[in-house]
């Protein structure tokens, strides 16, 4: 196999990302701590630049002998991950600069590495590349989860080692399970080429392989019953990192799942009972347990499990339409959840905690933050005229057309439970007085920028969902259509 220039074109963004990582590394060596939070802003701007660039470059075509294929599908995910990375970095620059002033570039580099892994993943057509990309995404996250640790045993970040260890152990175990499942599949089919699997006749072992992949990935995306690490990790890690962790790796997990289960094995139907159980359990448990939470980070963690359940609902049928809805949900979830967590970060930073009480009277301390949070919460709850509504609606529509009417009714009712706990935060923000000593809240430049971007996306896509829907449609059509030689 020889590599020509044509092999690099589809990977332009990823190569540029590598270049960006080198720039930041060298810049750190040269400038070091003197660069201050500038290094964070630089990373954010680089990612935004790549995001913008993805609209002007032609990224389609196979590369490296078909190991990697660039198309609308991989580009859609690239944009999601680049946007998530940029928003998270702009949101964390200030936090990192204040808490770990001497190690700033490491934090941002780790995020960049993780984004690089994610960016390679959706285009992978070979299992080896897929697994490597997945691990490149996952390993930096373990380090970042422990980032908040300080030497003060009573201080902020005292739960960070626990958070990181849980993420690490679960991550390692789930990788092992996934790999075991994949080894069965590769053993039976004799190839690591995902598109070639479809020619293998199904057998019980074949089914077991898919089942193990589902279980392993279930840990990664945090679906019930593999969810128990989620609330602890979210609570213990630094909040701007959680903003990233709660969306981007989950979507990468879905990208891998769709590639393996639907495109590779063509086995969505076979695993339907399992998937229905996962989805219903996630929707129910996530939303019901969220009601009991008094800490906003834990609340958003449990509600996030519920959202994963809704996404599984769209994942389940595996048709082009349903995957399109899943992608739309993913896009909506990125901007909404990152925005919400960044606001939690500001409140937490000022109050030293993230309980619902710390949100009391936020509207008096910062009307703009309180209004933004309200809109994010409404979007999470799926209320019209913010993007979350369309996301939930499309997912329900997909599930309805797949013959899962009862889950749609159940999900719609559970959404009302969701609204209940989201409104508890709104109630604290708008209907209670702030603590006597609470000062007005101001935002740093990067934070204001990140939150404004999220808010703009939530509101604009809420009014005009068609552009994102169109992108999602193109992406789904490019990938989900059966590969050649399908049975």
């Amino acid at each position: 196999m020889t590599l020509g220039w044509a092999d690099f074109a589809p990977l332009a963004i990823d190569l540029a990302l590598v270049a960006a990582i080198l720039i930041v590394l060298i810049g750190d060596l040269a400038g070091g701590p003197r660069a201050g939070r500038g290094i964070g802003y630089l990373c954010g701007i680089l990612l935004l630049g790549l995001f913008a660039g993805s609209f002007f470059l032609d990224l389609s075509g196979p590369s490296m002998g078909g190991t990697y294929v660039g198309d609308a599908w991989s580009t859609f995910f690239k944009r999601l991950f680049l946007a998530a990375g940029a928003l998270a970095i702009f949101g964390s620059a200030d936090h990192v600069a204040r808490h770990t002033p001497t190690r700033q570039s490491e934090y941002h580099l780790l995020i960049l590495f993780s984004v690089l892994g994610m960016s390679l993943l959706p285009g992978a057509r070979d299992l080896l590349l897929l697994v490597v990309a997945f691990e490149l995404m996952g390993l930096p996250l373990f380090v970042l989860a422990a980032w908040a640790k300080t030497d003060d045993p009573r201080g902020v970040g005292r739960h960070a080692p626990e958070a990181a260890l849980k993420l690490y152990l679960v991550g390692a175990a789930s990788t092992a399970i996934t790999l075991f499942g994949l080894s069965l599949i590769v053993g039976l089919s004799g190839t690591t080429n995902i598109d070639a699997w479809i020619r293998t006749a199904p057998s019980p072992l074949w089914f077991a392989g898919g089942f193990l992949v589902l279980a392993g990935m279930g840990f990664k995306i945090g679906a019930v019953p593999f969810h128990f690490w989620v609330p602890d990790t979210y609570q213990g890690s630094s909040t701007p990192f959680v903003a990233f962790l709660s969306v981007a790796p989950k979507l990468a997990g879905f990208a891998a799942l769709i590639a393996i289960i639907h495109r590779g094995l063509g086995a969505g139907l076979l695993h339907r009972p399992t998937l229905v159980t996962l989805a219903v359990a996630s929707i129910l448990l996530g939303n019901l347990l969220a009601v009991a939470q008094t800490d906003v980070k834990r609340l958003l963690a449990f509600s996030g499990i519920g959202h994963i359940g809704f996404m599984l609902l769209a994942f389940l049928p595996g048709t082009t339409e349903s995957i399109q809805m899943l992608l739309f949900y993913g896009g909506a979830y990125v901007v909404t959840n990152i925005g919400a967590f960044l606001i939690v970060e500001q409140v937490e930073d000022a109050a030293g905690g993230s309980s619902i009480d710390d949100f009391a009277g936020l509207v008096y301390r910062s009307p703009s933050l309180a209004t933004a949070m309200l809109l994010f919460l409404l979007s999470l709850a799926g209320i019209p005229f913010v993007v979350g509504f369309w996301a939930k609606l499309y997912v329900f529509l997909a599930a309805w057309e797949a013959g899962l009417q009862w889950i749609v009714v159940l999900g719609a009712i559970v959404s009302v439970v969701g609204l209940f706990y989201y409104l508890q935060i709104a109630r604290a923000m708008f209907m209670r007085k702030p603590a006597a000593e609470a000062p007005p809240l101001g935002s740093s430049l990067g934070m204001t920028f990140a939150i404004s971007l999220c808010l703009a996306a939530v509101v604009v896509l809420g009014a005009f969902p068609a552009p994102l829907l169109g992108e999602a449609e193109a992406a789904a059509k490019a990938f989900v259509a059966k590969p050649t030689g399908a049975r």
């Binding site: 329900f396 529509l397 057309e401 009417q405 609204l419 209940f420 409104l423 708008f430 969902p465 449609e473």
Partner: protein, 511 residues
Amino acid sequence: MTHWLSLIVAAPAVAALLLIAVPASARLLVRWVSLAGALVSLFGSIEVARQYDTVAGGLQLVESYPVVPSLGIHLTLAVDGWGVSLLLLTGIIIVAGVMATWTLKDREKEFYIFLLVLVAGVFGVFVSQDLFIFFLFYEIAVLPMYLLIGIWGSSQAVTEAGPFRYVWKVLDIGGKQYAAMKLTLMLLVGSAFILAAMFGLYVAAGSSSFDLAHLGSVKYDRTLQLWAFPFLWLGFGSLAGVFPFHTWSPDGHASAPTAVSMLHAGVLMKLGAFGIMRVGMVLLPEGALTWAPLVGGVAVVNIVYGALSAMSQKDLKYIIAYSSVSHMGIVLLGAATLTPNGWNGAVYQMFAHGIMTGLFFALVGLVYERAHTRLIGKMGGFARVMPGVAVFFTLAGLSSLGLPGTAGFVAELLVFLGAYQSAHSWWAIPAILGAFITAVYVLRAVRAIFWGKGPSREFSELSDARGTEWAALWILGLSLIAFGVWPDLILVFIDRTTPDYLLLVLAGGAP
């Protein structure tokens, strides 16, 4: 293509946007901008009524813009005779509502923003001809309510008595935040059912369009009709106050600030009834015919139970709130009769009750703002200090019990006639009994508050209505009499549309 309908819907929304730019300290400007938005909508509604051709009938003033073409969602606005009358109702109520809350003191800017957003949603429901857009507007009309009640509402002292007093205390029953949460959650559970039925219709009609005309042209199979109709009935019915899903209404209306109670009891509950008739019955004729006995039976329970509950209340706002439950029963009964008189009466009752209950809540707000109590046991002889309020309250009360010459009479007469002509003539008996109980509790309340001994010393300094409050009272009071003496002002529109829809139901439901 004319743009009157989009003007009506957009005017409050634009006013709300303008308000964001107005500094909160410019308190008079805030009010004038809100009033301007409301007035534009009212005059737009009057203009629509003037332009509506009652000879041609059907849908008029059609506008259409694509929203999500791939799913067949279009922003289609058009108005039928029912829509004309309900637009007028909403216009009148919002103008009166803004005027009646002119003296609000706390965070007025935000209050008016939410109020105007809400009313834009209400206008939108009455004119949208796309089921999906209908649902969107419906949600906008429901959701701002949470903040409006939770922030600006008033709480009632929790009753520290009875076997459940501990539960009452823990849940903060009677508190405004409890009421706001209860209302929002109950109505959204209703929305969940509406959404499910909507999907059912959309998929059964070929997944190509949410257009009401398109959905109406499909003959759905019996199974779908039989499950989707009760979903729509209960979904919309939870907003219309269908027993036993009415329990949010007394708490919510009692806790809400004046303009919000006026709008909610006056117009929002009608959205529910309108949804049942326009979407549920017209699209699903077979379901409607099959379930009509249940719908009517429950409506009768609404009438009698609501009236009896109102009779046993001590809190003035709860009396009016329960009377709304009872009067909405009359609307639903009219709908369930599936007769021309019944349907005309149902829509006319929506209009008449809207005006009447708007007037009631405006007056209750006035009294509460001055006396700082809602317990009628403490009041008495108020007519001596606030004669104007007493006169208007008596007028609203007389319309409520259906006195000839008031709008309430026309509506109730038509519904009772329809009930008698329907397949279930006996429905008329408890319905008329309900009107009788209404007379008991309304007259009792009027006597206890305004006549008799008093006012006691603490209330001797109370003042009558003033300024814009007079304007609100006159608008609503005059409407009650005008539409009572000359029902054709509105009935001409309603009666033009009723036969069209009724024919669809009766023909579609025939085996």
